[in-house]
Amino acid sequence: MHDPRSGQVARRELDTAKTVDFADAEPSAFASMLGGLIEANVDSRAERRRDFDALAARVGIWVTDIDEGVTLDFQRGRLVVHNGLQPQRDITIRAEADTVMSLSNLRIGPFGLPVYYDEVGRGVAMKLLRRRLRIDGLLGNLATVNSVTRIFSVAG
């Protein structure tokens, strides 16, 4: 929703009691889907909840083939989802829609590390090597990337 007085996209009053909340009055379909996915994942699995409660980071996700993105502002036990890429992100993931879905299907292996040796993992690793999946800020934030991957993961 556009606020003509401010020239800014309208913002919502945030509900601090919610696990996942949306910064924008009209969250995009992608923001709603990702927020819903994370909320369901965190609410249903204790190990995901532990990661979620410990994570403080701003993560951008840009889907290159639909030109849409979100910023996930993890605030130790709470997530605020913004439409589009917002400033001060720790990491930014850029990939096609299919690859973003594949990230959610990465299995989590020993020591809580994503599994890159099965079919889904190999596909994701190849996309990283071929730069069809880019993670800006990866080097300084490897632990954050792994936490976010675990929180996203719907794989058993």
Partner: protein
Amino acid sequence: MAVDFGSDEWASKFKDEVNRSAMYKAAARGWKWTVGLVVEAEPDKNFPDSVGVVMDLFDGEARDIKVGPPSEAQACQFVITAPYTRWKQVATKELDATKGMLQGKLKLKGDLPTIVRYTKASQELTECTTRVPVRWPDES
């Protein structure tokens, strides 16, 4: 031979395509939920009434696919809703279903982690629709 979109013949051919797909069988192993597709009316496209497609999918097999009122499709565990034109775009490969959902062009209701876990199966299901030769109401 082409069949009318949304007809019983179309549902039967769609079911046959799903059950012919080895890729679907492998990707949908463990799936045990009903899926409803709601095709919303677009009278100006010669599609005057909304239609529901109820898909009884179980462990990589289509046990039944039938066309009926939208209310039956809406009662399924997973429901995907879009206007007629969007479904036509999906079935003619103009619109990728995954992208369509992320863009809100196809509206999804149901447990998100489950549907994301079966992304490959749902993509193959879409592929199966593209293999059914269809007579579209706005082209006849």
